[in-house]
């Protein structure tokens, strides 16, 4: 390689490194802001977490004792700083042999459930991942497939039918679909279990059986969105000059659509899939609530109801982090898939 080429390559690498560093810095800043906002919002809640640890009957002395133990008697900014330092070096509550230890990185300690937040989230993550990934596979196959089928045969019965279903899917709330699904498949025809989760490692068949309804319900709604998206994009792409040129050159229709058409549709689908999946991985609150699945979403809902601030902050941060990662991955894909952008 010549000297100029080498210098150009080094310059590009340095530029990429700088961009990467900037991204990481901005991601960290975003997470910081999210955590600060969460703290602010939840501290304003008219509930006293120390009350939960007070016992029944609760005396003012015991309440004060509980507050001191949970470090709630400190000022709010001080508590936030404690939280930040805990991320790095872990935290301790109380003194002596009964002291509670939360090892680094300590995203908080849930006094209600007696465990560090990180452990609680780790327990629930497999459930949420199972739900999200399973539904994603289903909706991609169904949605993109239906969208492509509709786009290659525009204005036929197939197209109209698919798009009608899609519009209906977009207009239906998940909770309604879920509850009706439970009623139909769980109680009227006893083929599927209506609630609960069985780990994949324990019994794959039961795992799938318990997740079929949630997958279908989530996939139905998302597939509708993706079908519309895919059809719209593909229709536009198929009008474009280079497609007409390919057809004119005599390429087979399937090749035209498959290679040239889909490649251009891939980008929008990926850019939408990223945040969608990122959001679902943070917990599909309503779906988990309806199907009583012990995922991150129901943990979060529980935590908000019980004013379990450390848990709320922890899950919110995880959710924000997943969205950031998803966006970063999407941008990366943009760079790889669309030569016009990466240039």
């Amino acid at each position: 390689m010549s000297g100029t080429a080498r210098r150009a390559a080094t310059a590009r690498r340095a530029a990429r490194a700088r961009t990467a560093a900037r991204r990481v810095a901005s991601a960290a800043l975003t997470l910081l802001v999210v955590s600060a906002l969460t703290y602010a919002v939840f501290y304003l809640l008219p509930a006293d977490p120390a009350q939960l640890s007070c016992g029944k009957p609760c005396t003012p002395e015991r309440l004060q004792q509980a507050r001191e133990f949970m470090a709630l008697d400190r000022s709010v900014p001080r508590q936030y700083l404690d939280f930040l330092s805990g991320l790095v070096s872990g935290r301790s509550f109380g003194t002596g042999p009964a002291a509670v230890r939360c090892p680094a990185p300590c995203l908080g300690y849930s006094f209600r459930l007696d465990r560090p937040v990180v452990d609680l989230m780790a327990d629930r993550l497999p459930v949420t991942v199972s739900i999200a990934l399973g539904a994603a596979v289903l909706w991609l196959l169904l949605g993109v497939g239906a969208g492509v089928a509709a786009a290659v045969r525009p204005r036929t019965l197939l197209d109209r039918g698919v798009m009608t279903l899609a519009v209906a899917g977009v207009s239906t709330p998940t909770y309604l679909l879920g509850l009706l699904g439970i009623l139909l498949f769980g109680f009227t025809v006893h083929v599927l279990p209506v609630s609960g989760y069985v780990p994949l490692t324990e019994d794959p068949a039961a795992w799938a059986q318990h997740l079929v309804l949630p997958w279908c319900v989530l996939a139905a709604v998302f597939a509708a969105v993706y079908a519309r998206l895919t059809r719209g994009q593909l229709l536009e792409v198929l009008q474009e000059d280079h497609i007409r040129a390919a057809r004119a050159r005599g390429l087979r229709e399937r090749r035209v659509v498959g290679i040239h058409g889909l490649r251009n549709v891939l980008l929008p689908v990926v850019s939408v899939l990223g945040p969608d999946l990122g959001g679902l991985l943070g917990g599909a609150v309503i779906t988990e609530h309806v199907f009583s699945l012990p995922g991150l979403g129901s943990l979060l809902l529980d935590a908000v109801g019980s004013v379990d601030l450390p848990l709320v902050v922890g899950i919110t941060l995880l959710s924000a982090f997943l969205i950031i990662v998803a966006n970063a991955v999407v941008d990366l894909c943009y760079g790889l898939l669309d030569p016009r952008v990466s240039g």
Binding site: R115, F187, G196
Partner: protein, 556 residues
């Protein structure tokens, strides 16, 4: 911590007249085909709680539910349908010997008691269990004993290196308690979870003791996944001959956590697969009660309790608008108790209430200070309001977000609208409601609540709700009611060791308090539960209005 649904203030109200069939005779039929409990099988308990507090120091469980399966205490409750509850010896040989005018209580442990690992249960273990409940790290459980034991308010727990001198263990099988004042109901207090024995050697890490606690009851903890399931398996060293109230029927008990109330009820109605060996730990909601009334098979498996808790509307007596007793009496007459009953699910939700002490509590005297039609007395209410000089009022009503609360709150709102009081409903989540209602600020005019005493004595009905010491700071005196003569009356009744005399004093206090109209008694709630077709010995008595987990078994 997510409180066990047995917490009184969270009692959701249900009810349905299974009119023609009268299936659920009060208390429910213990439908078992044999007198001896059948052994074996895997029982499922479906519950809406997403977590179970396994540490006895932190638990607020009733003695006959979850933790009663794992831990034995000095005494326990003997519950049977159709008769009042009694306290019976559990680990101890009797319910306690009182001396020194009721200020000292002595217990002797039975012979041959062992934990699940075979080690013997000693009095020192019981002492240690009580002491560790005082530690700040383990607070949150039932705390009646913490103020009753001498020096309890100052004691900080055994982890500071100090012991509690009020508890003595002269030998391995004797334990003596020294109380700060005479307390006739102490035998009920030692049936609470904090009095479960905890071996000091196993309490190396107090906050994680509960993951594998030392089991003294018929079952031990096999696994616990928060939000998912709690699995209990047999304790091989539990001796049924020493245990009068537990039958240890099923081989394995699985608690399915985090379920939806309505779905649980529908699963039990459908009664298929594993659900045949299951019962619901949560009340059956009105919608499903309506469904049950149309399903002959399900009707057989519905069990309704006797009236248990008191559902009431608390009036914040400290607010200037509500300071005048005539305004509060106007609210008494204005409220439509019948509409509230319907909103709670109908007649089987419970009968209309007129007293503060609930039916079934020994010594209760029935009376009606504010006689009116079930739908209230609008004319009289308006009259009283006019006399007080406030013909129109605007009040806020605080409710928690249990499933029926919206309908119930709206019933109150509608009723008070008729007499000229505009009510704004403010709905808060369970814990937020607790903080707002029991906190120091007291920023509400009205609030709906229900209360079941933690032990069946009139003391439990009146003192926590109407004593001045229970205002704010987590106390349940939601009406913020304070009268020195009432406090004196309560103190006299508490210290009285002669039961008949005490009961007379409590009845007197009941009537005296209601004269000031700090609360409007609404209904005495009855709770309904469903069980699967293979579940036997399932019943719900009057107190507590929850199923007795300790006797449930499975039919083969």
């Amino acid at each position: 911590m997510k409180r066990h649904p047995l917490r009184a203030t969270a009692a959701a109200l249900t009810g349905l007249v299974l009119a023609a069939c009268g299936t659920s005779s009060s208390g429910g039929a213990p439908a078992s085909s044999s007198t001896a409990a059948a052994r074996g099988g895997s029982l499922f308990v479906l519950t809406t709680s997403s977590s179970v507090t396994l540490d006895p120091a932190k638990s607020q469980n009733l003695a006959i539910t979850t933790l009663g399966l794992i831990y034995r205490r000095l005494t326990t409750w003997d519950i049977a349908p159709g008769r009042p509850p009694t306290v019976v010896p559990d680990l101890a040989t009797d319910t306690g010997t009182a001396s020194d005018g009721g200020r000292t209580w002595t217990y002797h442990l039975k012979d041959g008691l062992q934990y699940a690992d075979g080690t013997p249960i000693t009095a020192a273990d019981v002492r240690y269990g009580v002491e560790r409940s005082f530690a700040a790290e383990l607070s949150g459980g039932l705390s009646y004993h913490k103020t009753l034991l001498a020096g309890g308010t100052a004691y900080k727990g055994p982890y500071t290196g100090q012991d509690l001198p009020a508890i003595e263990t002269p030998d391995a099988r004797t334990i003596v308690f020294h109380l700060a004042t005479a307390y006739g109901d102490w035998p009920w207090i030692v049936s609470m979870p904090a009095f479960a024995p905890v071996p000091r050697a196993k309490d190396t890490s107090p906050t994680s003791y509960a993951t594998h606690p030392a089991a003294s009851g018929p079952y031990q903890v096999d696994s616990y996944h928060q939000g998912s399931a709690l699995v209990l398996t047999r304790n091989p060293h539990w001796d049924a001959r020493t245990d009068p109230v537990r039958t240890g029927g099923p081989d394995k008990i699985t608690f399915q956590l985090g379920q939806d109330r309505s779905v649980v009820a529908q699963r039990l109605i459908a009664d298929s697969g594993d659900d045949r060996s299951a019962f619901g730990a949560s009340f059956v909601p009105p919608a499903q009660l309506a469904q049950v009334s149309r399903d002959a098979g399900a009707k057989q498996r519905l069990v309704t309790s006797d009236p248990g808790a008191l559902a009431y509307l608390a009036i914040n007596t400290r607010r200037p608008a509500l300071a005048d007793v005539r305004v509060r009496q106007a609210i008494e007459y204005g409220v439509d108790k019948h509409a509230y009953q319907v909103a709670s699910g109908g007649e089987l939700a419970g009968g209309l209430a007129t007293t503060l002490i609930t039916p079934g509590i020994p010594g209760r005297v029935a009376y009606d200070l504010y006689p009116e039609e079930p739908s209230g007395d609008v004319a009289k209410a308006r009259q009283l309001l006019a006399a007080a000089g406030t013909p129109a009022l605007s009040l806020s009503l605080l409710v928690d977000s249990e499933s029926n609360s919206a309908a119930q709150a709206q019933a109150i709102q509608q009723a008070l609208q008729r007499v000229g009081i505009t009510v704004t409903i403010r709905q808060l989540d369970d814990e937020a409601w607790t903080a707002a209602a029991t906190g120091a600020a007291g920023d509400y005019d009205l609030t709906l609540s229900s209360w079941q005493p933690d032990f069946p004595s009139a003391n439990g009905n009146l003192q926590p709700l109407f004593a001045t010491s229970e205002i704010g700071g987590g106390g349940y005196n939601l009406a913020r009611y304070s009268r020195p003569e009432v406090d004196a009356l309560i103190a006299r009744a508490t210290g009285e060791t002669d039961h008949a005399a005490a009961q007379a004093l409590w009845a007197q206090a009941d009537r005296r308090i209601l004269q000031d109209a700090p609360v409007v008694p609404l209904i005495y709630t009855r709770n309904s539960f469903l069980h699967g077709s293979k579940v036997a010995d399932f019943f719900v008595a009057g107190f507590p209005a929850y199923p007795d987990y300790l006797r449930v078994s499975l039919r083969r």
